[in-house]
């Protein structure tokens, strides 16, 4: 076992654990934000640089600090390592800088974005963003590319995290899209303008940290915070059939995979479950899903709904807001 201290909290981890994974074991405020790392995708991480931390002591054997901030998602723990995240001003400043750069070309179109309310970039900007931008340059705009009837690609919102590419590579049978071009003109696109059709392609929507890939069958149907996320399951021959059904009254508005507290899918689900099963009779509804208290989605108080009960529309039940 290796001993590592993160923000003065000591934890023992197994060899091969990364700093980020160790921080997630501790949980709470010491966990660095991760916009590109995804534990279930091999080779993910290292790209967004929001998870940078300071290594104040490299290891017990070699106590020198590391000369640069390191990406916690891709740096393995050494025995005796001392890491600073929240308590380091340098880290906080660097992270602010990274967030500024991630937002530099972002269209800031949250008001019309289906991801709003469950967007990692919104959370990140809320946590580390500046109040005003210093840029006066026109923001980057990509030509619209149609990637098929199920998934909507909004390239302007993409943060180039590569998660969807890795998902297509590792979860689906055939990869039809990838990263084209380079530098700040680099874009996610399908190769030779094909539609992405694949039994598991819908998972790209769930792994996308922003609103660059959204569910076309749910497009503009509702804001997520008006919906009640319910754990639901069904017998499915291609996936585990364990999903979150996003309901309004007794109607299912959309189906997603179940996300854990770090925003990662517990299990990948198939396109049939996601896109075709929108009837309440398709599912066994288990009960409300726990959502982080800070999330706007918790704001609609859906959790007091009892397990298995029929859910009433939110209208009329709103409570006076402070």
């Amino acid at each position: 076992m290796l001993r590592i201290t993160i923000d003065n909290i000591l934890i023992e981890v197994e060899e091969g654990t990364t700093i980020l994974q160790a921080a997630r074991m501790i949980g709470g405020g010491v966990v660095p934000p991760a916009m590109c790392y995804y534990s279930k995708l091999k080779g993910s991480g290292g790209k967004c640089r929001t998870c940078l931390v300071k290594v104040a002591q490299g290891s017990a054997k070699d106590p020198r600090p590391m000369p640069k901030l390191v990406a916690s998602c891709s740096t393995p723990v050494q025995d005796g390592m001392v890491v600073e995240n929240k308590i380091s001003v340098e880290v906080q400043q660097a992270r602010e800088g990274i967030v500024e750069l991630l937002l530099l070309n972002h269209p800031l179109d949250c008001p019309v974005c289906d991801q709003a309310g469950e967007c990692d970039l919104q959370d990140l900007a809320f946590g580390f963003g500046m109040e005003e931008t210093e840029t006066i340059e026109p923001r980057r705009e990509y030509p619209v590319v149609d990637i098929g009837p199920l998934i909507k690609l909004h390239m302007n919102r993409c943060i180039h995290c590569y998660r969807c590419v890795l998902t297509a590579e590792q979860i689906t049978k055939k990869r039809a899209h990838g990263m084209l071009y380079r530098g700040d003109t680099m874009e996610i696109s399908t190769f030779i303008q094909t539609a992405i059709e694949n039994d598991f392609s819908g998972n790209m929507i769930d792994v996308c940290p922003v609103g660059a890939l959204t569910d076309r069958t749910f497009r503009f149907k509702s804001r997520v915070w008006f919906l009640n996320p319910m754990n639901a399951h069904r017998e499915c021959s291609s996936c585990g059939g364990k999903v979150t059904a996003w309901m309004f009254g007794s109607e299912i508005y959309r189906v997603t995979g179940r996300k854990d507290r770090f925003g990662e899918l517990e299990e990948f689900i198939c396109n049939e479950c996601r896109f075709e099963k929108k009837d309440i009779s398709d599912w066994v509804i288990e009960g409300p899903r726990k959502i982080k208290r800070q999330s706007v989605i918790s704001g609609n108080q859906y959790e007091h709904l009892k397990k298995g009960s029929i859910i009433h529309p939110i209208e009329g039940t709103t409570e006076p807001q402070e």
Binding site: G46, C48, R49, L101, L102, T135, Y181, R182, G183, T185
Partner: protein, 427 residues
């Protein structure tokens, strides 16, 4: 005056040909190594020589070789980095064009030392005309049993392949190069693991620059200690400098490390002074990625000692008042040169060449370029200057590969030393 150990035969007519090269003492180092030395002894000579990587970072070559995972039962590879795309740097091209056999000989020696059976020369796409030259040299060496099966009747066999890239600066970064060589998109890898353990096709790999590998030839020829006697301090031996800009004699020169910058610029043996009798304004001493130095700091350090062409002297003063030897791309500006325009131009290059993988470099290079474009075109704001410094700082040190630093340093150093000129551009 410097002693040439690399370019000493460059003016011999027909030296590109195996026969002529051989007549002038070529392949004697291979004869010596395979005849009387063990691989470990060859490596020992390289360690003794104090040779440092000529690709830009100046990492000790012998030490790098000693990191190679020799316990693994996978094949080992040697990759020669001939992607040379740094603005201002054109020494590897010159070497390959005129002395291909010097490089081949270095590759044979290095492969022997490292226990490598397959060696790749990864060459940038724009150097297509060199591919033929190198392949001819390889096949000539093969005919003479210096490459191929059982070289010179020993148990050592080696194949050398030339692999042209598609012309991307980022594919000169060693791990992006390996990705590209494997047929993938040239994105730098996240380190660790390092190539010495997991390189080409996940096998132990050494990546070295063309000049580094060519220098192995004279090192084995003359012995590591004799090579180390050349140069100054930890900057042993000689270095190829590619000089360009507002000078009378642009070109590739071999200098002995420790030559004063002043001599290099003004002596007739080298750059021959500033063109049209102008005054020297600034120098970028080691390729476009290293900090720019104003004339006074280029010629003398902040402690008023003569600035020398060596790793240590050029970096003396750190980022405040120093720079780096880098790849030896020596760019000279005269008094008429516009620093703002030049900085914008370089930033345009980095923006275009960023692979786009990590956010600080992808977004930051684009932002800096747009701001510098405005400054150069009379649409700058006063606040833009500090903004540039801040953006450069947000990129530096926070990226996957050093291209981010390479893009940040020229901007930060230009503003540090020429802030007034940036202010003048603001109406």
């Amino acid at each position: 005056m410097g002693r040439a150990v690399l370019l000493d035969k460059v003016n011999v007519p027909g030296i590109r040909d195996f026969g002529v090269y051989r007549e002038h003492g070529g392949y004697r180092s291979v004869d010596k190594a395979l005849g009387e030395m063990t691989p470990a002894q060859v490596q020992q000579e390289v360690i003794k020589s104090g040779l440092r990587g000529r690709g830009g970072a100046g990492f000790p070559t012998g030490l790098k070789w000693s990191f190679l995972d020799r316990k693994s039962d996978k094949p080992r590879y040697l990759v020669c980095n001939a992607d040379e795309s740094e603005p201002g740097t054109f020494k590897d091209r010159y070497l390959m064009e005129h002395l291909p056999h010097l490089l081949i000989e270095g590759l044979i020696l290095s492969s022997y030392a490292l226990g490598v059976k397959t060696c790749y020369i990864y060459i940038r796409g724009e150097f297509k005309y060199l591919v033929g030259i190198l392949e001819t040299a390889i096949s000539q060496a093969k005919k003479n049993n210096y490459v191929g099966e059982r070289i010179l009747g020993t148990g050592f066999s080696l194949e050398i392949y030339v692999h042209p890239g598609a012309g991307a600066y980022i594919c000169g970064e060693e791990t992006a190069l390996l990705e590209s060589l494997e047929g993938k998109r040239g994105n730098p890898r996240i380190k660790p693991p390092f190539p010495a353990y997991k390189g080409l096709y996940d096998c132990p790999t050494v990546v070295n620059n063309v000049e580094t590998l060519a220098t192995i030839t004279p090192i084995i020829g003359m012995g590591g200690e004799a090579y180390a006697a050349l140069g100054i301090g930890k900057s042993t031996g000689t270095k190829l400098m590619s000089a360009c800009g507002n000078i009378n004699k642009p070109g590739v020169y071999e200098i002995e490390m420790g030559l004063p910058v002043e001599d290099f610029i003004y002596s007739d043996e080298y750059c021959g002074g500033i063109k049209n009798g102008r005054m020297l304004k600034a120098v970028i001493p080691g390729g476009s990625s290293v900090p720019i130095l104003p004339a006074d700091l280029a010629l003398n350090t902040a402690r008023s000692e003569a600035r020398l062409l060596s790793y240590e002297s050029l970096s003396e003063g750190g980022f405040e008042s120093g720079s780096m030897l880098g790849s030896g791309g020596f760019i000279v500006y005269d008094e008429d040169a516009c620093i703002v325009r030049n900085t914008w131009n370089l930033t345009r290059f980095y923006r275009h060449e960023s692979c786009g993988q990590c956010s600080p470099c992808r977004e930051g290079t684009g932002w800096m370029e747009k701001i510098l474009y405005r400054l150069e075109h009379g649409q700058g704001r006063r606040s833009d200057i500090d903004l540039l410094v801040r953006v450069a700082k947000n990129i530096e040190g926070n990226t996957i590969c050093p291209l981010g630093d390479a893009a940040a340093w020229p901007v930060a150093s230009a503003i540090r030393h020429f802030r007034g000129e940036f202010l003048e551009h603001i109406k």
